[in-house]
Symmetry: C2
Subunit: 306 residues, 2 copies
Amino acid sequence: MSLLVVGSIGLDTVKTPVEERSDLLGGSASYAALGASFFTPVNLVGIVGDDFPQSEFQAWESRGIDTRGVQRVHGNTFRWSGEYAWDLNTRETRSVALNVFETFSPTLPEEYRATPFVLLANIAPNLQAHVLDQMNEPRFVLADTMDLWIKTTRSDLDRLLKRVDLLILNDSEAREITQETSLIRAGRKIQQSGPRFVAIKKGEHGALLFGQDEFFSCGAYPLEDIHDPTGAGDTFAGGLGGFVSAHAQGEVTFDLLRRAMIYGSVLASFCVEAFSLERLRHLRSDEISERYKMFKAMSQFESISR
Amino acid sequence: MSLLVVGSIGLDTVKTPVEERSDLLGGSASYAALGASFFTPVNLVGIVGDDFPQSEFQAWESRGIDTRGVQRVHGNTFRWSGEYAWDLNTRETRSVALNVFETFSPTLPEEYRATPFVLLANIAPNLQAHVLDQMNEPRFVLADTMDLWIKTTRSDLDRLLKRVDLLILNDSEAREITQETSLIRAGRKIQQSGPRFVAIKKGEHGALLFGQDEFFSCGAYPLEDIHDPTGAGDTFAGGLGGFVSAHAQGEVTFDLLRRAMIYGSVLASFCVEAFSLERLRHLRSDEISERYKMFKAMSQFESISR
């Protein structure tokens, strides 16, 4: 079934210790939608300026991504520029220009309102809530967030959490939002504030999933070379949400989310192999299945079945 | 089959954000030997002073740990004092007194020399090598090390690595010894310097195991409350070595090491639940099996079998 994805669409400039590239397609919704598109049809919601390349719309549509919810308005597209430290584990934002994003207030096309699954990719929580307000009782709502919203719009975020089934955030954000040092305590505490499920992303160390009385821990797919970590978390959320939308039968179960987490991790591992969305643009389904099998084999405690 | 364990035996003073305790049994060999004793008979090698409590010898012997290789000499036992930061992830050494350790040159009892498995717990690499020199071709040699030896006695360590089957070290040490930021590259590079197998410990994030063409990644057993992280790495090494010694039939295989890593992690997870060796002293085998099952269930990608 379809997944609605809302988030930022931008043009990025990224500097790694090895290379600098500019005018790259970026933004949380760009990564999440493409990640999800490997599993399910996507209804994309976002905003771009008149400097945004028309070819991206064609690329989206060729991947089963509906772009009727992407507004093209007068002005410049959202721009972000960041620089990674030598180990690629930390980054500094060099500049942000909201541009057309400043006045963005998403209005969903009528055809989008009954989309059964919703991924609120990382944008301000009041915009995420505004999208939910326009939906006809979605079956399952996933939301991603970031430290900026925890620091600056905490009450909006707290209200949103009560409407979310699965919250996705990274380890430092989980610690910050709960003021707990233990990630296990942090995950449990976030569940008490609303979401039935919580996924904590730990970058190169994998991810944790918390259910009602259940818990799942997985490593990250091991990579020797990482070219650009930008968008890995958004791609993870997209892959996860796409897999759930494609495979949920009735209630979304913990076992389904567990597998969805792995597919999210696999998608994210491809994402970082090249700048921007370049690797994902050329990714094939059989490469995803093959990596899933490898990942499973290297995570099994006992006998290996491939 | 038996496992020979050599390393430090000390009396520790440990300060956590919550509590300070002194004159605790500590040292790499104390943790490693007790961890291993849940799986296999242990031949312990070390040195203590005349201030060392005789009751510890009885405690060791009651757990199947042979203490004929523990020298008791005139002088004070090795002492270490450390303080943990608020999140228990980093610690500062407040003081170290080598005492009787300063002149330690282990001489193995005749009965120890044919022990088939050897765990060189963390001590200076020249002492680790000196123990190996006295052994009759052991079947499998595990060694642990630390940043101090990488910095101060690198050439001793490099020579030792050529005689080791499995090197155990933590993530920052793996990066330091190889000057690689990627742990995957680091593990592979260490293999080229000698050890067929490398285990990289990542604390709360689990551990990685590198074989010839194989790789295994596991998380850490999730704990809400950690009381004292001291000795977790030594206990991991001991549990791993003990399990391998108990279960190796012919060649030590990657699949055996994979399970041994999990048992090492399980032992380490019990270790940190109380100060010093208090939790391990009262640990039962059925608690270990139960936690192994739970850990397996929460790490499986697909169907859960308990």
